[in-house]
Amino acid sequence: MLRFIAKRLLLALPTLWAVLTLVFLLVRVVPGDPTIIVLGDQASPAAREQLRQRLGLDKPLLVQYGEFMVQIAQGDLGRSLVTNRPISADVAAVLPYTIELTLAALFIGSLIGVPLGVVAAQRRDGFVDWLARIVSLAGLSFPAFVSGILLLIAFAVELRWFPVISTVNTSDPLERLRALALPAINLGLIMVAYVTRVTRSGMLKALSEDYVRTARAKGLPSRLVVWRHALRNVLIPVVTVIGLYLGVLIGNAVLTEIVFNRPGLGKLIVSALNQRDYALLQGLMVVTALAIVFANILTDLTYGLVDPRVKTA
C-alpha cells in the first residue's frame, strides 16, 4: 500500500509541473501590457517601468519561469498588486471555508446520492426511481446561482430557518453549522445528482452480473446481496465520478460563495477580477489547480481501497 501511495504521488509531479507551466504562460500570453491594465493608460512610463521591475517582467521569460517555479516550490505565491499582502496568507485565511463547504457538499452528495441510486435501481420504474430521476435532473439542470437564490428565498427569507448572509465569524459551532447548511445543500444537490445517476446505472448493471447470482445462490438475504456484493463493485465508478466532478464542485463552490456571501476562494477570485489583480489571480489559479490535482490523487488512492485489482496492477 505504501509503495502504491508513493507511486501515485510521484506520478502527480509531472501533472503539477504541466499545470504550473500552463498557468505561467496563460498570464503572460494574455494580450495587452499588464502595466497598462493595472495602472491605466494615463500612467507615466516611469511608473510603468517601476511596476514592471517590481513584477519581474523586465527579466527574460526563462528567468521569470525559473523564479516562478522556485517561488511556488517554496510555497510563495507572490504579493497582491493591490494590497501588497502575501497572497499565500490571503488564500490561507479563506481556504478553510471553501474546503469546509466542498467537503460538506461531498458528504451530502454521497450520503443521499448512493442510497437513492441503490434503491432506485432495486425498484426500477417504481416511486423512488421516479423521484431519483427528477432529483438528478433538477440537480443537473439548475445552475448553482439559481438554485442558491431559490434556497435563500424559501428557507432563509420566507421560513427564516437559516441566516440569509452566511456570516461565519462566530465561535459557536452550532451557528457555524447553521451558516454552512444552505450553501452546503445548494452545492450538495449538484453532487447528489451526479452520484445518484452513476450509482443507479452502476447498480442496474451490477445486479445482473454473475457474481450477484452466485451471492443469491449462496442463500444470502437480498440486503447483503445488494449492499455488500453489488454496491462494493459500484463504488468504483462512483468514486471516479466524485473525483472527476470535484473540479466542477470547486467551480460551483465559487458561485455558491458569492450567492451566499460566504468568505472563501470565490470571493477572492471576484475581487481579484474586479481589481485587475493579476498576481492574485495567478496565485488563485495555482491554488485551484493544486486542489484539483490533489483531489485526483485522493481519488486514485481511494481506488486502492475499493478495488483490490488496483493495488497489484
Binding site: Y211, K218, P221, L224, R232, N233, I236, T312
Partner: protein, 338 residues
C-alpha cells in the same frame, strides 16, 4: 399428464427418497409482454450419489430448469407456472422466498459456467466461501474462515493457507472454478446443481474439475444435477441422462442405454453431430435448420420442423413413452415410441 402418470415418473429407482423430485415443472418466460412456456411439463428425480445429466443446446430450457429448482428465476421475466419441486424433502414451490433462501447455499449448492465472472472481484475468496457458513450456520467470521481454509484444501487449491485473502483476479480459471465448488459445498448440501461447470475451461482442466466433482460426490453422497451440452462429459460422469429440446424432455434413460440406443431423432442427430476419434471428421452431420424461437414454437412435437421422420401425427404432442423392454428408457416421439 394425469396425476398417476406423474407419480410414476417421480418414483425414484432406489428405495431412498429422492434428493430432488421435480414433477410436471412448467417455467414460463416473458418476451415482449407475453409469457411463453420455455420449460414444458418436466419431471425427474435425482437420488443421493446419483448424477443426472440434463443435455441440450443453448435455449433448450436446461438452465431455466436449474434456476427453477434453485428458486432463482429472474423476477418479472421468469416464473414457475405449474408443477412441484421438492428438494431434500422441502417443497420449494410452496415455500416462501425466505424458505427458499434458507435452502439455497445450505441444502442445495450451485456452480455456474463462467468462473471468470461468477466470483465477486472485490471480495477475498476466503470470505466468499465463508459467507454461506456465516449466514446458514451462524458461525463467527473466524470459525467460518477456518472452515473456508479446509474447504479450499478439500477442492485441492495449492497453498490454500496463503490464498485465503487473495482476490479472484489472482486465480486461474480452473482455480476459480474450484473456489466456486468450495462455495457450493461450504454447508455440506445434499444436492449440487452444476450448470456447465467445465464449459469455460481448458480440456485438461476440465478433466481435473470433473474428477474432483466425482470424488466429492462419492465422499459427500451428493445428488448431482449436471447441466451440459457436452455428450462426452455425460458419457464419463452421468448415471442417467435427460435430453431437452425446445423446453420438452425428448428422451431420458440410463446413460449406457442412451448411448447404446439413442432413440429420439434429435438424440440421434446430436450424437451424429459429435466429433469422434473413431470416425472420419467428414462424417459429422449437422442438424439442418434452427431451433424455433419460443413465439414460433410449433404446437405438438417441437422438433417436427427439423425432423426427417415427421408424420402427420406430430402436430399433436407425443407423450414420453417407455421403450418396449426398457421401462427406464423413455422417448417422446410418435414414430420411435408410439
Amino acid at each position: 399428464m394425469s396425476a398417476l402418470a406423474a407419480v410414476a415418473v417421480v418414483e425414484s429407482p432406489s428405495s431412498e427418497p429422492a434428493a430432488i423430485a421435480v414433477d410436471g415443472l412448467t417455467t414460463s418466460i416473458r418476451i415482449a409482454g407475453n409469457w411463453y412456456d420455455a420449460v414444458r411439463d418436466v419431471s425427474f428425480t435425482v437420488s443421493r450419489r446419483e448424477t443426472l445429466a440434463l443435455v441440450g443446446e443453448s435455449g433448450c430450457g436446461k438452465s431455466l430448469t436449474a434456476l427453477s429448482v434453485m428458486g432463482l428465476l429472474p423476477a418479472g421475466v421468469g416464473r414457475i407456472s405449474s408443477g412441484r419441486i421438492v428438494v431434500d424433502g422441502v417443497d420449494m414451490t410452496a415455500a416462501t422466498e425466505a424458505g427458499r433462501q434458507a435452502m439455497r447455499g445450505d441444502r442445495i449448492g450451485m456452480i455456474f459456467q463462467e468462473p471468470m465472472t461468477s466470483l465477486n472481484p472485490v471480495l477475498p475468496v476466503g470470505f466468499q466461501i465463508a459467507e454461506a457458513l456465516i449466514e446458514h450456520r451462524g458461525m463467527n467470521r473466524r470459525a467460518a474462515q477456518k472452515r473456508a481454509l479446509e474447504l479450499m484444501e478439500l477442492v485441492r487449491i495449492p497453498a490454500a493457507g496463503q490464498r485465503l485473502d487473495a482476490y479472484p483476479h489472482q486465480f486461474s480459471g480452473g482455480m476459480r472454478q474450484r473456489v466456486m465448488i468450495a462455495i457450493a459445498l461450504a454447508c455440506s448440501p445434499k444436492v449440487l446443481i452444476a450448470d456447465e461447470p467445465t464449459t469455460a475451461l481448458d480440456v485438461t482442466i476440465q478433466a481435473q474439475v470433473l474428477a474432483l466433482l466425482a470424488d466429492l460426490q462419492a465422499r459427500e453422497g451428493l445428488a448431482v444435477l449436471l447441466i451440459t451440452h457436452n455428450l462426452g462429459v455425460v458419457a464419463s460422469v452421468a448415471d442417467r441422462v435427460m435430453v431437452m429440446y425446445g423446453g420438452d424432455v425428448v428422451e431420458s434413460g440410463p446413460v449406457k442405454a442412451f448411448f447404446r440406443r439413442p432413440t429420439h431423432p434429435y438424440s440421434e442427430a446430436l450424437l451424429a453431430a459429435m466429433p469422434r476419434v473413431d470416425r472420419p471428421s467428414e462424417a459429422l452431420a449437422p442438424i439442418p435448420g434452427q431451433v424455433p424461437t419460443l413465439p414460433d414454437m410449433p404446437s405438438g412435437c417441437r422438433y417436427q420442423s427439423r425432423c426427417p421422420l415427421r408424420i402427420e401425427k406430430c402436430a399433436e404432442r407425443p407423450p414420453l413413452n417407455p421403450l418396449p423392454g426398457a421401462p427406464e428408457h423413455r422417448v417422446r416421439c410418435w414414430v420411435r415410441a408410439p
